[in-house]
């Protein structure tokens, strides 16, 4: 320390005394902050437990949803076959079509014959008769 520093230090001792430090107040505030933090830490595990339960519930819900989704979209399961049979358009084979048409022709002929008979009606009634 230089002579100048020593003189300055001595001189600065003349500065006014400090007011008493409210150490007790600082201690109390610090302890209160500690208590507050510890209380929050105690609350945190409960919150974490709640969060874990919620996460587990969400996982279960997602699992159920995924299972249900897969069940409805699987290609070979019974539900999809049943739905396909209801919704699919009815298909008719060619043999059935031809048989129906032949039967229809035959039916028409018989019906026509029952109405008209074997005679041609145009020969009985003159068209040009006033």
């Amino acid at each position: 320390m230089t002579n100048e520093d020593a003189k300055l230090r001595e001189f600065l001792k003349g500065a006014g005394d400090l007011p008493p430090c409210p150490t007790g107040k600082f201690v109390n505030s610090f302890l209160a902050e500690m208590d507050n933090s510890q209380t929050q830490n105690k609350v945190k595990p409960n919150f974490s437990g709640f969060m874990r339960m919620a996460a587990a519930f969400a996982l279960v819900a997602i699992g159920i949803g995924a299972w249900y989704f897969n069940d409805n979209n699987a290609p070979n399961n019974a539900r999809s076959i049943a739905l396909a049979s209801i919704n699919a358009p009815e298909s008719v084979s060619e043999d059935l079509v031809s048989e129906t048409l032949i039967y229809g022709d035959k039916t028409e002929d018989a019906f026509a014959a029952s109405l008209v008979g074997s005679d041609d009606i145009s020969t009985l009634v003159s068209i040009s008769d006033p």
Binding site: T2, N3, E4, D5, K7, L8, R9, E10, F11, L12, G14, A15, G16, L18, P19, C21, P22, T23, K25, F26, V27, S29, F30, L31, E33, M34, S37, Q38
Partner: protein, 200 residues
């Protein structure tokens, strides 16, 4: 490869134990550090209420940082001094009382209370010193406080003020010159007790 010697820091021990809920350690920590912080804050702010506020805030921040405090980075005292210095600067700036020190170092009387009338109304020596310190730019004043009131080294003061040792020495040199000029201007007759030698 340099080896950093292990130095036992009682404040660090208190802080670590306090961080895991040891109230005795917390009390020991606060009782050890708060008078130092309060002294710095009061000398800088000259207001007990404001000094209390910044000490409370510094202790609160210390508590928050305690669980993550890594030994070896900084001494707790240095960290706390730095925080309280910045909080004091903020308060002074907020109140328009922060006095910046220009590099040209032109010295002017910064305070209206630093008048001979005010001086003679109070105790001669005590107020002469207080009023002289009041006229200093804020960083010069803080350098004086840390060096001459708190007995910290230039290296520690530099760490607190986030500057170099050379800058601290420069601040101190200018502060001493300003104090000497102040007393010359005031013609108070205390110059003989003050620094009569040429400032470094």
């Amino acid at each position: 490869m340099s080896i950093t010697p292990l130095i036992f820091d009682p404040m660090l021990a208190h802080l670590k134990r306090a961080s895991i809920g040891d109230k005795k350690a917390a009390i020991a920590l606060v009782e050890a550090i708060s008078p130092k912080l309060f002294a710095v804050a009061y000398r800088l702010l000259r207001n007990s209420h404001e000094a209390e506020e910044v000490v409370q805030e510094t202790l609160l921040r210390l508590w928050r940082i305690a669980p993550n405090w890594r030994p070896g980075n900084a001494k707790i005292e240095t960290w706390a001094y730095r925080v309280i210095s910045n909080l004091c600067f903020d308060k002074l700036r907020l109140n328009g009382r922060f006095v910046s020190d220009s590099l040209d170092d032109s010295f002017e009387l910064k305070s209206d209370i630093a008048t001979p009338e005010a001086y003679f109304e109070r105790d001669e020596i005590r107020n002469a010193v207080e009023l002289a310190l009041e006229t200093l730019p804020t960083r010069q004043k803080l350098a004086i406080i840390y060096t001459y009131f708190e007995n910290l080294s230039a290296k520690e003061s530099a760490a607190i003020l986030d500057t170099s040792v050379e800058a601290i020495e420069s601040l101190l040199s200018r502060a001493k010159r300003n104090l000497r000029q102040y007393f010359e201007k005031q013609d108070i007759g205390l110059l003989d007790q003050l620094i009569v030698t040429e400032a470094v």
